[in-house]
């Protein structure tokens, strides 16, 4: 996935899921197909269907989290990628994975956890699965 496509995936994901029209950043946001949105999640979550089931359980238990921007910020913020969407575009996939792993481990160390159907999960991980749930529903 090239840098420009990644940036638009990020922006378009939020827009698509929230149903909000955003200013064009080049190619129109609404023109990004759903599969590209899923592609971002696939970097971090290979099985979005499985993750989506967990994510739905999380959103059911925590309805206040049903806020796409909040979920996105909740995942990307702790990853400390300065430069926002551009930084995501320019960061190798392996580095993204390493960062999210570190964030998740830090969550466990700090006790930032939630319980989803008995699974004790990092809050960041839960938000990632929540995004997968929303994307999975939208793609279908």
């Amino acid at each position: 996935m090239n840098n420009i496509a990644r940036r638009h995936v990020l922006v378009s994901l939020a827009a698509m899921l929230a149903g909000v029209m955003l200013p064009s950043l080049g190619p129109a946001a609404g023109e990004v197909p759903g599969s590209q949105a899923v592609g971002l999640l696939n970097i971090l979550v290979p099985d979005t269907a499985a993750a989506g089931r967990l994510g739905r359980a999380y959103l059911t238990a925590h309805p206040a989290e049903l806020d796409v921007q909040r979920l996105v910020d909740g995942v990307l913020g702790p990853m400390r990628l300065s430069g926002g969407a551009d930084a995501i575009d320019s960061t190798p996939e392996a580095e993204l994975i390493a960062r999210i792993r570190r964030v998740v481990i830090d969550d466990y160390l700090a006790g930032r956890i939630v319980n989803i159907d008995g699974w004790v999960l990092s809050i960041t991980e839960a938000r990632l699965y929540a995004l997968a749930a929303l994307a999975d529903d939208k793609v279908r």
């Binding site: 290979p46 499985a50 160390l109 006790g111 159907d117 008995g118």
Partner: protein, 508 residues
């Protein structure tokens, strides 16, 4: 010499310097410690050298609390309950012996250092030497695996070393038989510990065999070593001079019964790549002539900060998941597979060695420390056994404190598993508030003749001598003021070795 009480002339009278009641791990250890010395020992065993139905039935009784296998959790023949012992060995932790301000009635009369002096010798007796129960560096060197410190500081690794297991009767019977100063009296049920009229000294033991013969044993000193259920029962039954029983001036005999609730099915761990976990985390490995495996225990800092009881967790391999194969249990399998699939980038190896392998499921076991509770107790039932003695009545109770502690520890373990970066844990506790009507224990019977230097707070003093009686001692799990979470046999043997030293220092 082995003597059968059923074959002695009627009303025989045996004499010894030291009479030991009970030939389980504690009694046999104490007798062995006297071999070759000046002390003449009579080691009494209610059973014979093999399991016998009518003798075993003498362990039956009544439950008025949590249902408990009174006869199924112990064995009444030479070697005692070591005859069905699982062999798990681990020491208590220093904090287990401390007075913890969040735990009423905690605190032993001495510190861990005093007990530590005897753990290596005890380890030899139960055939797990060398004693390396908390030595992560040793196990790392011996297993060749990287055993990192637990990442959060909230948990530690402790190592269970497995005895073969030592069947004390089989292992040490010949040695006792050959010892010139040891007589083992089999099929000898103690029916009364006879004291002087002022109740301050034991003079004799009244004995009954199941064939109707009665005898007595006279000695200078006596040690009760029949286990945490029978020790208090015998003290309560011995009430011909002191109506409340021996050592019971403050109504403590039988109280504070503690077990280690052994709970499984509380949760499970899934790992996409089991090779990222040290094997000793989830199975036992042979090292230096004995098997050992890791257990997960809370750190002292975590216990103090959260004011919790102690606990011990173990993991064990249950099943693997492969592509295209249906899980054995569809319901739980579906949950496992979803988590493995969702989290594999977060917890698995970047490039899996085997693409067909989805991950593994590890089962979770735990043994919980129980809070000392005076209302959890051994009493005497109204019903009598065939010897005319009142049977045991057990009122085992667990409290919200015990439950809360367990649930909190489960959450802590789950966080630690997550922080290791290799798996995810699911907690499956039906009801976080209440204990079920039946709770499995470890056949660990503790607390019922607890140690305290203050006679109003303990049945025995720091040297295991019964308060108010100058020549009666008790050994075994019944003297534990607190239970910790470690399997008790090793500590029972260590305490008995300590008692042996004390008796020798008193010229017994």
């Amino acid at each position: 010499m082995f003597i059968d009480a059923r074959k002695l002339p009627r009303d025989s009278r045996l004499t010894a310097d030291l009479a030991i009641i009970g030939a389980g791990p504690a009694g046999i250890t104490l007798a062995r410690s006297m071999i070759g010395g000046p002390t003449r020992v009579c080691l009494l065993e209610a059973g014979g050298t093999a399991l016998d139905g009518p003798t075993q039935a003498l362990y039956e009784g009544k439950n008025v609390g949590i249902e408990y296998p009174l006869a199924g959790s112990r064995l009444r023949y030479f070697g005692g309950s070591s005859n069905h012992w699982g062999g798990f060995c681990r020491t208590l932790h220093p904090i287990d012996l401390e007075q913890r301000d969040w735990l009423p009635d905690s605190g032993w009369p001495f510190g861990f250092d005093e007990l530590q002096r005897y753990y290596e010798a005890a380890s030899v007796i139960v055939e797990v030497s060398p004693a390396r129960f908390s030595d992560r560096v040793y196990w790392q060197e011996k297993t060749g695996e990287h055993l990192r410190e637990m990442p959060s500081g909230r948990m530690d690794l402790a190592f269970i070393q497995f005895s073969p297991p030592t069947r004390f009767g089989q292992r040490y019977g010949d040695e006792l038989k050959a010892a010139a100063n040891i007589d083992v009296l089999l099929n000898a049920n103690v029916t009364n510990i006879g004291v002087t009229q002022d109740g301050q000294s034991v003079q004799r033991l009244d004995i009954a065999a199941l064939n109707g013969l009665r005898h007595r044993v006279d000695a200078k000193a006596f040690v009760l070593a029949t286990g945490g259920l029978e020790n208090p029962r015998l003290l309560l039954l011995s009430n011909d001079v002191l109506p409340a029983g021996l050592g019971n001036r403050h109504d403590l005999v039988g109280r504070y019964f503690m077990e280690h609730p052994h709970l499984s099915g509380l949760g499970e761990v899934v790992v996409p790549d089991i090779d990222r976990l040290p094997k000793v985390y989830w199975r036992s490995l042979p090292v230096d002539g004995r098997d050992a495996g890791a257990s997960f225990v809370p750190s002292d800092a975590f216990l103090r900060q959260n004011r919790l009881l102690n606990i011990q967790f173990t993991l064990s391999y249950r099943s693997g998941y492969r592509k295209g194969e249906a899980p054995g249990n569809p319901d739980i399998g579906a949950k496992h597979l979803d988590m493995l699939a969702a989290s594999s980038k977060l917890t698995g190896r970047g490039n899996p060695v085997n693409e067909d392998w989805l991950g593994a499921w590890l089962g979770l076991g735990c043994a919980c420390e129980q809070a000392p509770n005076p209302d959890s107790r051994v009493m005497l039932a109204d019903e009598q056994d065939v010897l005319g003695l009142r049977k045991i009545c057990l009122d085992w109770r667990l409290t919200e404190t015990d439950r809360h502690s367990m649930v909190r520890h489960l959450e802590n373990l789950a966080m630690e598993i997550g922080a290791l970066g290799t798996g995810r844990m699911r907690i499956d506790v039906d009801d976080p508030e209440y204990w079920p009507p039946m709770v499995p224990g470890g056949s660990h019977h503790m607390g019922t003749t607890r140690m305290h230097d203050d006679p109003s707070r303990g049945v025995v003093d720091r040297n295991c001598k019964v308060h108010g009686i100058d020549n009666l001692y008790v050994t075994g799990g019944s003297v534990f003021p607190t239970s910790g979470a470690a399997n008790p046999t090793l500590t029972i043997v260590a305490l008995t070795l300590r008692l042996a030293d004390h008796l020798k220092s008193r010229g017994i």
